[in-house]
Subunit: 143 residues, 4 copies
């Protein structure tokens, strides 16, 4: 495991809500981040699909990490939009985010969210948003 | 309590993720919906603020209910965008959504999300999105 | 006419594309801006409606002005989203923008775009976006 | 030139606003569309950059064409969001759109907009939006 991935996992585990959701950081490298969420009953809505709020969380958090991988400091999602394209069913939710533009103070990222059922990945949502540096430095400069 | 509000609360309580979050439906009337979420430790991120994923959930679900109040059938959020404008701290999160356009098959809604601390409401996010009818009729035609 | 409105009109007239579109600034005050565009044949698409690109331009530029009214300096639209809700037909397009949050370096604004036909206003689009200060000071500090 | 591209060009040329902008359709195939706009003085804002309204037009229209390439009928952009990431300067604006999800009645598309100066392409904006079928069939079923 890289130092960056180890650091990212510590940050994720320091977010009580991410622990509640059960999110794991599987990749965290220069310009990229991948979150995985095991699908459990508590994450669903009334029809048995993963709740949109979980999918939104995954996309939002994945782009924050992707942005953080290049902005070198403490960051947050300033805004994002998401299109839900298919109900999420299966065992796992995977959010894959990447940076498409990085400046000094902000990055624009995209994210695809997939549901994995019986080994088959299906796109369930697509997002795009802006990550900005915050004044507070809560992560090491190297991140 | 109106029949519509009672019905809306049943729908909300049938969503395991909404129960996990602790969301309550405080208003649900023609073209409007208001969700309230007591702020607890488990809903926070690493700096003690409410996690963006919770704020996004609140906005997303509130616009779904607002859209459902006028589309008369089972609905879901097809897409939305959110701008986070201030960290959310305090006792309660309040998401107030309203319909700004309603057609036969879709509605466009806006939502303002506030954090309430010591009785003072502060805007922490603003959202806008599209609610669409689904084929499955899971709610009574009157809703 | 206020000094601010006069200044705003000069800025608008210094944008060749706004002149090409035929946009006029009707209101420009603290936190608000209103653009009016006479609907001409050249602004239409193949079905006789105003082209979406014109409606997007109107929303985008109106929120830039609204943001500029409170940020006190040179500004631009960093991002925005728009929902088109009805075809625009008639004599005039009106874009009414207002600031919903203003910080030191950015503002979040909303805009409603209406088409006016025979004196009747119809909502044809709704937008929300982020306006940011640029480094270059091209407008007087008072703006 | 394929029949599809020829058809697409006829549609584009039937939009007076696209003619005013000077847009050309360079690619139009299954799930993809590329618009090119020669940068002229009339398309600029006050600082000499291409006006955001032109960039938004390019992204919006490119995703409409991309969506139309798979939805097989008359379509329009229902909503989209755009992030402007760099000022557009140079000779040409290029908007490259692709479908990331297609259902029976709607498609979700992304678009990257580049400015080309002295042969160098620079990303200046990124967009994502929803294309929907309209009731009116103005294009052949095969499109």
């Amino acid at each position: 495991m890289t130092d960056l991935l180890e650091l990212g996992r510590k940050v994720l585990m320091s977010q009580p809500f991410s622990v509640l959701i059960g999110a794991e950081l599987r990749e965290f490298s220069d310009g990229k981040a991948e979150l995985v969420i095991p699908i459990t009953e508590t994450l669903k809505q009334q029809n048995g699909y993963v709740h949109g709020g979980v999918i939104g969380y995954a996309a939002d958090n994945a782009i924050t990490f992707a942005g953080g991988s290049v902005l070198g400091t403490s960051v947050l999602t300033a805004e994002y939009k998401i299109n839900y394209v298919a109900p999420a069913v299966g065992d796992q939710l995977i959010a894959q985010a990447s940076v498409i533009y990085a400046g000094k103070r902000q990055a624009v990222c995209r994210c695809d969210v997939y549901a994995v059922k019986d080994g088959v990945k299906t796109l369930c949502a697509a997002a795009q948003g802006t990550i900005v540096k915050t004044g507070e430095e809560t992560l090491p400069p190297k991140l």
